[in-house]
């Protein structure tokens, strides 16, 4: 039993890594209707910026704040000067452009900082607390808390603010949004900027555990995408819960389901997606979209 609970706690902590990236992906999707493969790469770039600053003696929190500002500008600039050309075109082309962006950003990080694994200081200590025989690190708790805060903030942004409503209107139909007087172009830049900010937070949270390398988030990307689809593309809360679910079920399946084991546990999120989407095509928490003929 103790092992079971420990595995669940471990899964939650791993799931938080996926959730961090998934939140940023969902935000861009909500604001632009696009899956951004480069979200992880941009987050890594932000983490490098923070890392360079801490190496210059800047306190960690300030360095992260600086990297967040950097990311906002970066996201907005990428939207304005790269993505805008593809936003009204073929969606497949736009996705491939984000793949190209991921390759480019990874290449730039490798060129500037090399491929060595760099130690990134953590906001939270690695000390452990023990509750009922289950141990969990302060770092995991802190990471999870920050993600919950980010999730609530994102959800509130979309549901409770004018900006959020405007962003969603732009994503659903840019043309009618423009007719109703919304500054579509500026909104798109802001949407990308906010998503990049979330990415920067994600990068700073997971870099201490994954160690900083240009490809740090490549392996997490697939899980994050799975969480995005499973949770429903429109729901920040759903996506975070889906990420945790994936982390936990993956661990439990590996340990308790003989034929899956640790080598095939990566299949778990996809089996889950398939089963869920057959029953609920809009994902666990997503809203139904109406297809017009």
């Amino acid at each position: 039993m103790e092992k079971f609970v420990q595995l669940v706690v471990d899964g939650l902590s791993t799931g938080s890594v996926y959730a961090a990236l998934a939140l940023a992906i969902v935000l861009v999707h909500s604001a632009t209707g696009l899956i951004n493969f480069a979200q992880g790469g941009m987050a890594v770039l932000a983490a490098y910026v923070a890392w360079v600053l801490t190496n210059q003696g800047v306190p960690l929190v300030l360095a992260i704040v600086a990297s967040i500002l950097f990311s906002f500008v970066l996201g907005a600039v990428i939207e304005r000067f790269l993505m805008r050309r593809f936003e009204r075109g073929d969606p497949d082309t736009a996705v491939v452009v984000t793949v190209g962006l991921l390759t480019l950003v990874t290449g730039i990080a490798g060129w500037l900082w090399g491929y060595n694994n760099q130690q990134f200081p953590s906001l939270f200590p690695l000390d452990t607390v023990s509750v009922l025989g289950v141990s969990v690190s302060i770092r995991s708790i802190g990471t999870t808390l920050v993600i919950v805060v980010a999730m609530v903030a994102t959800q509130a942004l979309f549901v409770g603010t004018k900006l959020g409503l405007a962003l969603r209107a732009v994503a659903i139909n840019p043309q009618s949004a423009a007719y109703s007087g919304l500054p579509v172009e500026r909104l798109l830049m802001v949407g990308w900027g906010i998503a990049a900010v979330l990415g920067a937070v994600a990068g700073a949270l997971v870099a201490p555990q994954l160690t900083l390398t240009p490809g740090m988030l490549d392996n997490a990307l697939v899980y994050a995408l799975a969480a995005v689809i499973l949770g429903g593309l429109t729901s920040p809360v759903g996506v975070v819960i889906a990420a945790w679910l994936i982390g936990v079920l993956e661990n439990l399946a590996a340990v308790y389901v003989g034929f899956i084991g640790f080598d095939l546990k990566v299949a778990v999120p996809f089996i889950l997606i398939f089963v869920v989407l057959i029953v609920r095509p809009q994902g666990l928490f997503g809203r139904k979209t109406v297809v017009r003929v």
């Binding site: 092992k3 471990d10 899964g11 060595n116 694994n117 690695l126 141990s135 490809g215 392996n219 640790f262």
Partner: protein, 420 residues
């Protein structure tokens, strides 16, 4: 199907292509000499009277770019230094400089084979590339073309089998040797031990485990209580460590090649208050890049096997070999920071070993080179630890087959003779 465009035309095209094929099949015989046998003693491609060119295909981008970059940097630095001194005097009496042509294969076998194809006409020999599948992809082609695939960075035993791989030679110890060395140490312990195994799910992990098991087989003080694997693409091994911690093992044999996972495995075990003796392979045992951030001092003993001096270890900070190496790496290897991967050191040793072969080869041919390469015995390459050496004469073994077991002392490593 589009009728008016359909069958008649298809038939016509088929007939024409058949005709063309017949014609060309007849005409093809006129060509001559594609990778054909050169006259006896004539120089092989890639070597002139004053220079020789070596080729490398290795991952320089992607997930394995860290160690991959090192495999190029070390040997480039070594020959950069030698070239600056005027070059190397070969066995035929001529002094040559050594040039390196390295290509990125991103750990993709298809790209590695393509890189080999594009290099083979210009280079004298291929060397130093990292990876099992990326070296296997063109192994048979290299045999057919009689191109040396010398001193490569994989512990796959096939490259050290002279029968199967006449034009190949691995550099680093086969994985089995490393696992076996630790197994022997543990079997010689006076106490009883329960061992948990966590290994990478590929030939790397399997090789280590196989060697370890063969060494502890029959030792009645050793019991393997649990065995788990992980994938090199995993983002976490927390669940594995949690499960192994429950097994009550006092030793963990951890055949892992991924830097962040090794660090987090060490950290996770401490969080669970599980403090076994820990075994790590040679490529993930860097004191500065892995053990220190992983808090390895908390464990009663962290053991590894090695044959190269760790530059980050204080014991070697003043070592002359290490100083020469680090400054050459910076100056000629385009590698400004102290390396976090031992592959840089290994690649440097590959350079020194190649130099030995060059000094012995009497003709500027690939045949003569392979003969010289297979005749090196007891060569103490720079950066080598005492009691290890390069020997290429032993059948079935790579250039380096001896390793020493070392124990972490909080800063660097000490060689140990027995398990305490």
């Amino acid at each position: 199907m589009n009728r008016h465009f359909g069958s008649r035309k298809a038939a016509g095209i088929a007939a024409v292509s058949a005709l063309a094929l017949t014609l060309t099949a007849c005409g093809g015989g006129a060509d001559s000499g594609r990778s054909g046998d050169a006259a006896e003693g004539a120089p092989s491609p890639g070597i002139t009277d004053d220079s020789v060119t070596l080729g490398i295909t290795t991952p320089l981008s992607g997930a394995t770019a860290g160690p991959g970059t090192c495999t190029v940097a070390g040997v480039t630095a070594y020959f950069g230094m030698k070239n600056a001194e005027g070059g190397i005097e070969f066995g035929d009496g001529k002094t040559r400089t050594v040039e390196i042509e390295a290509l990125d294969d991103t750990y993709d076998p298809q790209q590695a084979a393509a890189n080999y194809d594009s290099l083979k006409g210009d280079v004298f020999a291929m060397t130093a590339g990292l990876g099992t599948p990326t070296n296997r992809a063109w192994r048979e082609a290299a045999i057919a073309d009689e191109v040396p695939q010398a001193l490569i960075m994989t512990g796959d035993p096939i490259f050290s089998d002279t029968e199967e791989s006449p034009w190949q030679l691995g550099f680093v110890p086969i994985y089995q040797n490393e696992g076996e060395a630790f197994g022997e140490l543990l079997a010689g312990s006076s106490a009883d031990h329960k061992v948990a195994i966590l290994s990478q799910n590929d030939d790397f992990g399997e090789g280590y485990v196989e060697g370890f098991k063969s060494a502890v087989e029959g030792a009645d003080n050793i019991e393997i209580v649990q065995e788990l694997t992980y994938e090199a693409t995993d983002t976490s091994v927390d669940a594995q460590i949690t499960e192994l911690a429950n097994s009550g093992a006092d030793v963990i044999f951890n055949a892992m090649s991924v830097t962040p996972l090794t660090i987090s495995a060490l950290q996770k075990a401490q969080q669970l208050n599980w403090k076994p003796n820990w075994f790590l392979p040679s490529n993930t045992s860097s004191p500065g890049a892995i053990l220190q951030p992983g808090g390895a001092a908390a464990f009663p003993g962290v053991y590894s096997v090695s044959f190269a001096k760790a530059p980050a270890s204080p014991a070697f900070a003043q070592d002359e070999d290490v100083q020469t190496y680090l400054s050459a790496l910076k100056e000629y290897g385009n590698y400004p920071e102290p390396p976090a991967f031992p592959h840089c050191q290994w690649s440097w040793m590959v350079g020194a070993t190649l130099e030995q072969a060059f000094m012995e080869m009497e003709e500027p041919t690939r045949d003569s080179f392979m003969e010289a390469l297979r005749g090196i015995e007891g060569f103490e390459a720079p950066l080598m630890l005492p009691d290890t050496s390069v020997s290429t004469t032993e059948a079935g073994q790579p250039a380096v087959s001896t390793v020493v077991v070392q124990k972490y002392n909080g800063k660097g490593y000490d060689t140990v003779e027995s398990f305490e």
